[in-house]
Structures are given as C-alpha cells and as structure tokens.
Point group: C2
Chain length 165, copies 2
C-alpha cells in the first residue's frame, strides 16, 4: 500500500510518500511547501493545492494520513494551519484518496515509542525505519513521513526498512 503523509504547519506544509508491504516500508519521496512568501493566503493555498495534486498524480497513493490539529504555538497559528488543512482535505476528497487522522502524540508514539519525542528523535527513527538518510529533507517533510509511517503501523504493516527485517 502506498501512503501519503501530510503535515500542515502555519508557515510550511510537508508531504511524504512511503510504500508499505509485507517486507516493510520504503521511502518514495518527500518535500516541503513554503506557505509564507508574503502572498495573500489564497494564493499560497492555491500553490499548495497545485503541488498536492501533482504529488497525488505522480505517486498515486492508496491512502493518506493527515496530522490532526488541536494545538499550535498560538491560536493564530492554529487557524492558519487549519486553513491549509482544509485545502489539503478538499484535494484528498477531490482525488478520492481516503485518509486517516492522527494526533501529533499518536504519530510520535507510533514511530518512536514515546508520545513526547523531540523533532530530532522523530527524524532519527524515521531514518532508521525507512533505512535512508534524511539530512537533505526539510523538517515538515520528515514529519509527514512520520505520519505516513504511523498510518502504516496502525494499518497492520510492519514498519522497518524493506529487506532489512
């Protein structure tokens, strides 16, 4: 099963695609979309939607996993993030990609075994589980891969680099 993970922030949004099968999980692609370039919010949402549609077209995910929003640095950030998330959910529905939602704590717990893991711990475990180095991958893209891995695990797939288990 190919899984698209999405992590919406107020300034950026990350996406990451992994392939999960009986052998484990494989890294396919990941990137981050800058949402804070001084353009009106609608223009930034349009650019995000354009990129998300391209990602879905190119990588044809079977399912998606989206980080839920309950908290953010502040209420204003949470509202911005929710705008981006609304656009993301619309694109998923438009393209017929079913999705699951996970809280940040669920993602951290699934991937690192600890619900309050740091960003560094999450990155370290995502690298270990996918068997790749993510040094050149942006923070939100890495978080999106963690969301995708969380979904793989909760869907019953064994998480771990393909061929190394």
């Amino acid at each position: 099963m190919r899984i698209l993970g999405i992590d919406c922030g107020s300034e950026t949004a990350g996406w990451g695609v992994v392939e999960a099968d009986a052998q484990g999980t494989t890294f396919i692609a990941a990137d981050q979309v800058d949402l804070n370039r001084g353009e009106p919010l609608a223009e930034r949402l349009l650019e995000f939607a354009r990129q998300l549609r391209l990602v879905i077209e190119q990588f044809r995910p079977d399912e998606a996993a989206v980080e839920d929003v309950f908290h953010a640095k502040n209420a204003r950030s949470a509202l911005r993030l929710a705008h981006t998330r609304g656009a993301a959910l619309l694109i998923l529905a438009e393209r017929g990609v079913p999705y699951a939602e996970y809280s940040p704590a669920q993602v951290k717990l699934s991937v690192t075994g600890y619900g309050r893991a740091t960003k560094e711990q999450v990155r370290h475990m995502v690298e270990a589980l996918l068997g790749v180095s993510l040094v050149s991958v942006a923070e939100d893209a890495c978080d999106a891969l963690a969301v995708a891995l969380c979904h793989a695990l909760r869907s019953g797939y064994s998480v771990g680099a393909s061929g190394t288990l």
Copy 2:
C-alpha cells in the same frame, strides 16, 4: 460590480451575491450550505467547494468578500471554521476572484452603524439596504449578504436599494 459575500461557520457556510452600481445595491441570490451531516470533513468540504464553484460559474462575481475568523464559540469551532475558510479561499484563487477580508465587527459597523449589532439587527438592515424580504433566507446566507454589502460600501459604492435612493 458584482460581489460574492462568504460567511463560513463551523456547521454551515453562507454565500450571498449582490450587484453594486451608481444607483445602489441589488439582491441577486443567497443560500446556505449544510456542513454538518455526519460525513467526514473532507466530503463536506468537497460538497461546499462544488457549490461554491457553481455559484461563481452562475453569478460571475467580480470580487468577493470573506468574513475573517478570530473568534468562535470555542477553539474547536474556530478550527472547523478555518478548514472551511481555507477551502473557500482556495476556490476563489482557483477561479481568479479577488477577495477582501472583514472582521465581524467591521461588517456589523458598515451595515448597521454599530459594531456589536445583533443577528436580528443585521438581518433587518440587510433587508432595508437591499429592499427585499429575507424571511426565507437562512441566517448564514443573510450574514454573507451583509459581508458583500460591507465590501460594496468600503469600495465606495453607496449602499441602498437600487432606484430608491
């Protein structure tokens, strides 16, 4: 100038179209979209987007006006509302409709002369300014007309039923 007003709520979203010219403002159409039918959020956003695209296609607004979100009954409502608003802004950008944003207080002040006007006072003034009865028009649709009238006024149009000024 034809103006599309949009008022996003957490349970419903209203839209209203008015025509503003040198003679005043005319009611064109308004309705409310139910966003709370037990379907997943993405499906509801998709239905809202479908209706909004139809409205834009049918009434061809030159500009849009969207109520800003700072407050809601609670944080959870504000976040739901922001998802809907994100979808709305994406559709406006997609269709190339420029938009302005107004706070609820700005809308009330413009339309009724009082920034803390009640829903009933707003409805009464929208009816007076458009010269129509809105008894069969849903609350959020009426609010959306108020947002459109606010934009007409702030764009320099005299607000008042065409032909009666």
